[in-house]
Point group: C2
Chain length 274, copies 2
């Protein structure tokens, strides 16, 4: 299979608009809090997609030298165009598979991945491959969600069922939509040391429109994105789906609330003497 044709649970057509909504929501700034790379350091972003994280990385670490890789030439072209338009220097783009990174061991000081491990059948192997291109003493940062963390009011069995559709479909495609909670053991299994995993919860009060917009545009839109597949695979009946989606929207209305927890992990590549 050509890398570009690898299945991607969220589809690829909508990604540019997703990226814009993501940044506008303030979520990007929140997730990148604390991620700053020193001037002159060499940083690799693995799985940059259309550059949703790339532009935030570049804004936050203007003196670092970035290399961004992705398996999809189409996504990479979009990321490149975006970065060029914004006038960022110090960025190289390269098409590559995460399991076959075309770099010598220790080529980078740090590595960054976001919303990538959740799509991979072997996240430990992926972390090992990323670790290998980072120098001993350098760091790898991963940010991932966990759909099991979705906590909302009013509670709804049907809403749980539609979220479950995405979790199931992603699992059948070899991914794991519940990966956030697993970052500690994944980093440990990949041989990192000084591992730090922090939960990053976002909480939207249904009475505060901006926060609720983000829930609708990012989370609910993502669930709605698997509708056709969920029906085709017989994961859910039409009535349950409609009630589930309606109930998710209800959590974004006055009186409702919605909480989701992302997880951010940082691990250090061991030095020979450690």
């Amino acid at each position: 299979m050509e890398p570009d044709q690898k299945p991607y649970v969220h589809g690829r057509s909508e990604r540019e608009s997703e990226r814009l909504r993501y940044q506008a929501s303030g979520l990007a700034a929140f997730l990148h809090r604390g991620t700053r790379y020193p001037s002159g350091s060499r940083v690799i972003e693995v799985g940059c997609g259309v550059g949703a994280q790339t532009v935030i990385l570049l804004e936050n670490s203007p003196g670092a030298e970035f290399t961004c890789v992705d398996v999809s030439a189409e996504s990479l072209a979009a990321a490149k165009a975006r970065v060029r338009t914004l006038g960022f220097p110090n960025v190289a783009f390269r098409r590559a598979d995460i399991y076959d990174l075309p770099y010598l061991p220790g080529s980078y000081d740090h590595a960054f991945v976001c919303f990538l491990l959740e799509h991979l059948p072997d996240p430990v192997l992926a972390l090992e491959k990323i670790r290998d291109v980072v120098r001993p003493g350098g760091t790898v940062t991963a940010i991932e969600g966990d759909h099991g963390s979705a906590l909302f009011y009013p509670e709804s069995r049907d809403a749980r069922a539609v979220i479950g559709c995405l979790v199931d479909i992603q699992r059948e495609m070899g991914g794991n939509a519940l990966i956030g909670r697993e970052l500690p053991h994944l980093f440990r299994d990949a041989g990192f040391i000084r591992i730090r995993v922090l939960p990053r919860p976002v909480f939207a009060d249904g009475n505060i429109p901006r926060a609720s917009e983000a829930v609708k545009n990012i989370f609910i839109a993502m669930i709605e994105g698997v509708k056709d597949e969920a029906f085709a695979l017989g994961k859910v009946d039409k009535k349950t789906w409609e009630r589930g989606i309606r109930d998710l929207y209800r959590t974004t209305e006055p009186g409702g609330s919605f909480c989701y927890t992302f997880f951010k992990a940082v691990g250090v590549r061991r030095k020979r003497e450690e």
Copy 2:
């Protein structure tokens, strides 16, 4: 029914040791972060129990004047003894029911409640009663858990079942173990303004003993506390219970992880002109 005989889902016998484990875990300091009252301000703690939060409040706001009320004379005596032993001045204790607080409107600058609303059949009425004894412009702070937020690895249906026992039993006793996510609408329904609700997640990597100890001593111990009642009420069979508890402990072992989210709300009592 005498106030002291009011049923309490967690039981009362173990509370002193629970309090000590709570403080030792560092959770107390974490939950109280950001709660500091100015010197000379009058603060009421409603539902002080055996003083688990009281001593933290006193440490963090040494110049404030505290009044602590609880419905249980026995708990109040324990709280009083503890506070006196530690030599804190500026604390008054009074036995009172939250729905019938013996104070004039606006007697206090601020109010604080922790792990109280979850046990009350009418948390909005309780918040209104607390609001009334606070002056216009003063604040009410509430900290509550939400057992639906428990997120762990390895995932386990049986572990979910045993957590569900506590949720069910607490609901049947008129409480709500899933109240954290509801704080926005509860504060709004009680007429507060400038409401701010923040999730406060704690995440325990099974490889880090101190964090796992807190999960065992606080969360799992609390679930285990309803074992007899769960059996008596036929909520769960013995095999499921044993597997569920075993699976919860597994999340605290190397390779496992456990996340729990508390919610902290602060609301302001409206001034006449607002």
